[in-house]
Amino acid sequence: MAATFFGEVVKAPCRAGTEDQEEEEDERRETAEDREVRRQLARKREVRLFRRQTKTSLEVSLLEKYPCSKFIIAIGNNAVAFLSSFVMNSGVWEEVGCAKLWNEWCRTTDTVHLSPTDAFCVFYHLKSNPSVLLCQCSCYVAEDQQYQWLDKVFGSCPRRNMQVTVLTCRHVTDYKTAESTSSLHSPFLKALKTENFKEPPCCSLLEQPNIVHDLPAAVLSYCQVWKIPAILYLCYTDVMKLDLITVGAFKPVLSSRSLKGLVKNIPQSTEILKKLMTTNEIQSNIYT
């Protein structure tokens, strides 16, 4: 251990060799207890896909059971609110499954009784056109769970004749640009697409050296590898909590081919959105 100039303690590797090499090796060998702890942790962090109504888990991947031509995924509360108010208010959407997962980001240590917003990704399809699949994911999917999520949702051999659209948000301070950040007009939309996505995007493409993180990145990488046309619409905003203006920034996506046919009533959508805002407002006195 070493102390830095600012008084923080950092772990520094020790160059002095230890005298008792054997003792160290004993410590490094895994005990049965370690293995059990690791097994329990893996079980806790498993991503489970099941039908809420019947409480039965899906034996095959979601897209194998419900093949689709359009798959729209909303990750994060603003993207979820956008789909809820603009897309899901028209037509009848039926829940076809949900993915339940726990990680350190969940606000509870109880892995059994998890609240929907904490730990669920819900999947819907349009009753009148079951080839349109929608995913509302407001929980955080950790790095070690992303592969499981992709495997359970997309499967190991996905069809290529579908189009994937992902919507998500990121804080504007993550956006790297040569311009001064005070001149950035946030929220703004950027797009990143796979090679097989041939349509023009609804906004400008994400410039280098910006990168995409977490589940949206995992989905895009997966689609790129499997040659599935996919596009990610990333909204950079300075308000990460549920916000009317941030959700409004997704509106250009309504003109894309995936969403065009699905949106019917925009004024009603704005009303639904306002209602969502008021019901989800968290009371806090820290900032005024």
Partner: protein, 250 residues
Amino acid sequence: MASRYDRAITVFSPDGHLFQVEYAQEAVKKGSTAVGIRGTDIVVLGVEKKSVAKLQDERTVRKICALDDHVCMAFAGLTADARVVINRARVECQSHKLTVEDPVTVEYITRFIATLKQKYTQSNGRRPFGISALIVGFDDDGIPRLYQTDPSGTYHAWKANAIGRSAKTVREFLEKNYTEDAIANDNEAIKLAIRALLEVVQSGGKNVELAIIRRNQPLKMFSAKEIELQVAEIEKEKEEAEKKKSKKTT
């Protein structure tokens, strides 16, 4: 690079940033919007009212505070920091009055607040104040003033400005709409402030709070009813303007 230089306030990064001060500006953006307008004979402060919990006493959740009879300020950012700054400013106002037998000028008290904020950006073991303030008032010479301070300790005079969440949108609206006609009389200046706020306030007039100071008069806080009346007038004017537009096109 940022993570190595943002822990201590007194450390510059190689490219000249004081990251803690810049992060404090982000804290300001977490507060709700406040707008200030300097008219010819009036100064107006409008704020987006924070939603108050059911059991909370509304009077204790205030974004607009009087510093003296002729000066008031609105802030955006950390509530507790604002309370400390406001208390110090109020004490300074009275101390000045007792020492020099004259009330503070708006510029004096703004400079005092800005100096206080700057001290906290150059002191080890402390963090900057996470608030920006809009300070308005009239001096003895009868000229209206509007100043804005930020966490770095800078202050500038403005004709109209906004701070807090969506401040940029409101400032752009003001840049387009702040004209000599718009502030021709007191009522027009008040309406401009409300219109600017309505651009970004999520639930309309009932979430707006307004305060004005007229020359040689104390601070006046608008009641909810008065604000409603103004909002109704603004909506009527909007409708009439749209009707005229549609008539022109047909």
